[in-house]
């Protein structure tokens, strides 16, 4: 069963009196443990699509199933619970909480979202920090580390709750090319290690190369689907 299944989803925004069709009847399926990229020019609907998959927004029309759940049926509170349980987020601007240390930022979802025991919290946080190579920086605050390091912390935070799906909206946009590549490599490694599905949006062609499945969006429609390999379950993508 697909982790994400979209059936003719449409998203229309109203700005003033003007209706803008951001997504126009898009259908696709994303399997578990895959590394998927949505590419396309600005305004093509990448971020909107990620927001819909991430239950941050609801489609105007169509059906969207994430982890077997019809997310259109979820109310505000249920969506928050669903996100906390199933989805990790990596943001373009890192979005770390400035008053928390690197360790506390990674630990945050385990306290505020999942209510995990102290011992387990510590183990999981340390494991993730070690995995992203930020263990030595764990007591620093976000303003004391570089952009690349911030995004590593964001990756750790997204993975700490063992989500089925991690969504990354332009995760490398604010990083230099070398650092961006390192972050993408890190995400690939994390996908392999934790068997998590990564979906990210980008318009950096070099970063796109890392993806296993690439959806190209234009004017809110999928104009191309490019499969580079097979997912980690050995299933054809």
């Amino acid at each position: 069963m697909a982790l994400v299944k979209a059936e003719k989803i449409v998203k229309v925004y109203k700005i003033g009196e003007v209706l803008i069709n951001s997504i126009n009847g898009v259908s696709f399926e994303i399997e578990e443990a895959s590394f998927v990229s949505f590419v396309g020019p600005s305004g093509s609907g990448k971020t909107t699509l990620l927001n819909l998959i991430g239950c941050l927004d609801s489609p105007t029309e169509g059906n969207l199933f994430v982890a077997g759940e019809d997310v259109n049926e979820l109310d505000r509170r249920q969506r928050a619970l669903f996100r906390g349980k199933n989805i990790g987020f990596i943001f373009q601007d890192f979005n770390l909480i400035p008053v928390l240390t690197v360790y506390e930022n990674v630990e945050y979802p385990l306290i505020m979202v999942k209510n995990v025991s102290t011992k387990e919290r510590e183990e999981r946080t340390m494991k993730l920090l070690d995995a992203v190579g930020m263990l030595e920086q764990k007591d620093k605050y976000p303003d004391q580390i570089s952009g690349g390091q911030k995004q590593r912390v964001a990756v750790a935070r997204a993975l700490v709750t063992n989500p089925k799906l991690v969504l990354a909206d332009e995760p490398t946009a604010n990083l230099d090319h070398k650092t961006a590549y390192t972050v993408i490599e890190l995400m690939k490694r994390m996908k392999a290690e934790f068997n998590t599905t990564f979906i990210f949006s980008t318009h950096d062609p070099k970063i796109v190369e890392a993806a296993e499945v690439i959806y190209t969006l234009e004017d809110g429609e999928i104009v191309d689907r490019h499969v580079k390999g097979v997912n980690s379950n050995g299933k054809s993508l």
């Binding site: 927001n51 991430g54 941050l56 927004d57 505000r76 509170r77 928050a80 619970l81 669903f82 996100r83 906390g84 349980k85 989805i87 990790g88 987020f89 943001f91 601007d93 979005n95 909480i97 400035p98 008053v99 928390l100 945050y108 979802p109 306290i111 505020m112 979202v113 935070r157 997204a158 709750t161």
Partner: protein, 412 residues
């Protein structure tokens, strides 16, 4: 919960200057309330103490109907010995009654042989009166502090106006309840200072002299002043007395006695009520200060942290937790202000006590103000600040918790 506090404290530290300014404003409000409560409370209690401990007693019991015509000091409304005995038995059965003092109150003429004027007198048992009114002796400015047979303590106003000194002989003339007039020579043993309120300008004689002047064959008492062990139990003892005496009926089948607390005997009670009202007003001002300060800061905090709110909401933080985060921050702001205000305010009240501020009230001068704050005041003010801080931060916190994560994340 600990994590909510940790995040709230760090967010307050993050905007240090704003936190200091806001909590200072709250602290100033708390300081003013404490100073007002301390000083006005001290003034009020001192005045109540002066009145109850030097003339009224805490409670007075009269024959039913006496109070309605108290200005005339009617001898016909005095209580018979049997009635007084009943009352004494009741007082002795109430453990909260410390002492009581029966009085014969009457009006008469005071003559120095060259001048004559009217005077209001209390015939009392000296020991009982002094025990019931422990500050009475301190009002006797000249002469002995005792009320002996054959002697009179006259009010300061008469002493000054008629140039009467301690040791002088005066004559007291009074009409008894049958209408006949009698007089008795008495030696002035002391001059008593006037105090504001009913009975504040009365003279004192021994109760047996009063009986002799009024030609009483048996002792008929005008009123009994009662002192309680704990002034705080005033209303409970009042209720007990009323209950116990409600069964005592006169020949017409109506209640034989009437019981009054000092509150219905002294006009100062209205001033005391005004002080209480002003205290409420000052507390309302504190409420407004805290409400506006906390609300203002929390609105700004929410506005400045919209993207952060979007982030924590996106990663699955429930709306209730987001609300708690901001309410905790607002409450902490209030608590910091309350703690600082309570410490400084209590210190200032103590300083005022050490400095010994004096003031005049009515005909009394040189009263030393002794301001104080009780633990109850501190707890109440802290509670007000905390509750108002919760209310002040609720609206911004609610707004934060209801924010759509997608809109919040887009905020620039």
């Amino acid at each position: 919960m600990a994590n909510l506090f940790k995040i709230a404290i760090r967010n307050l530290a993050r905007y240090r200057r704003r936190t200091i300014l806001t909590s200072s404003l709250i602290a100033i409000g708390v300081i003013f309330v404490l100073l007002f409560v301390g000083v006005s409370g001290s003034f009020k209690n001192m005045m109540i103490g002066q009145m109850t401990d030097s003339m009224l007693g805490h409670i007075q019991v009269h024959r039913k109907g006496y109070m309605a015509s108290i200005d005339n000091l009617p001898l016909t409304m005095n209580m018979k010995p049997q009635a007084v005995k009943k009352l004494e038995k009741v007082f002795q059965d109430i453990p909260d009654v410390e002492s009581y003092s029966p009085r014969i109150k009457f009006g008469g003429m005071l003559s120095t042989f060259t001048e004559t004027t009217n005077i209001r007198l209390n015939g009392v048992y000296p020991e009982k009166e002094m025990k019931t009114l422990p500050l009475l002796a301190s009002r006797i400015s000249n002469g002995g502090k005792e009320i002996r047979k054959g002697e009179i303590i006259i009010p300061e106003l008469l002493s000054r106006g008629m140039k009467i000194n301690v040791g002088d002989i005066v004559v007291v003339i009074a009409t008894n309840k049958d209408g006949s007039v009698n007089g008795k020579q008495l030696k002035v043993s002391g001059i008593i200072e006037s105090v504001t309120g009913p009975g504040g300008r009365d003279g004192y004689v021994h109760i047996e002299d009063a009986m002799e002047i009024l030609r009483m064959e048996e002792m008929e008492i005008s009123e009994i002043a009662v002192r309680l062990r704990d002034f705080g139990k005033l209303h409970s003892v009042y209720n007990t007395l009323n209950t116990l005496l409600s069964g005592e009926l006169n020949k017409q089948g109506k209640p034989a006695f009437e019981v009054h607390t000092w509150e219905s005997l002294s006009p100062f009670y209205n001033i005391a009520r005004s002080i209480d009202f002003m205290t409420i007003f000052i507390k309302a001002m504190l409420t407004a200060i805290v409400l506006i300060s906390v609300m203002n800061v929390m609105i700004m905090a929410v506005y400045e942290r919209i993207r952060e709110i979007g982030t924590i909401a996106a990663i699955g933080t429930m709306p209730g937790k987001i609300l708690s985060m901001f309410v905790t921050e607002g409450v902490l702001l209030g608590i910091i202000g309350a703690i600082a205000g309570n410490i400084i305010g209590t210190g200032l009240v103590y300083l005022l006590k050490v400095v010994k501020i004096t003031f005049n009230f009515g005909r009394q001068s040189g009263l030393v103000l002794s301001p104080y704050v009780t633990l109850y005041d501190i707890v109440m003010i802290s509670l007000i600040v905390t509750i108002v801080a919760v209310i002040g931060s609720l609206q911004p916190a609610f707004k934060a918790s209801r924010m759509e994560p997608i809109k919040a994340l887009r905020h620039v």
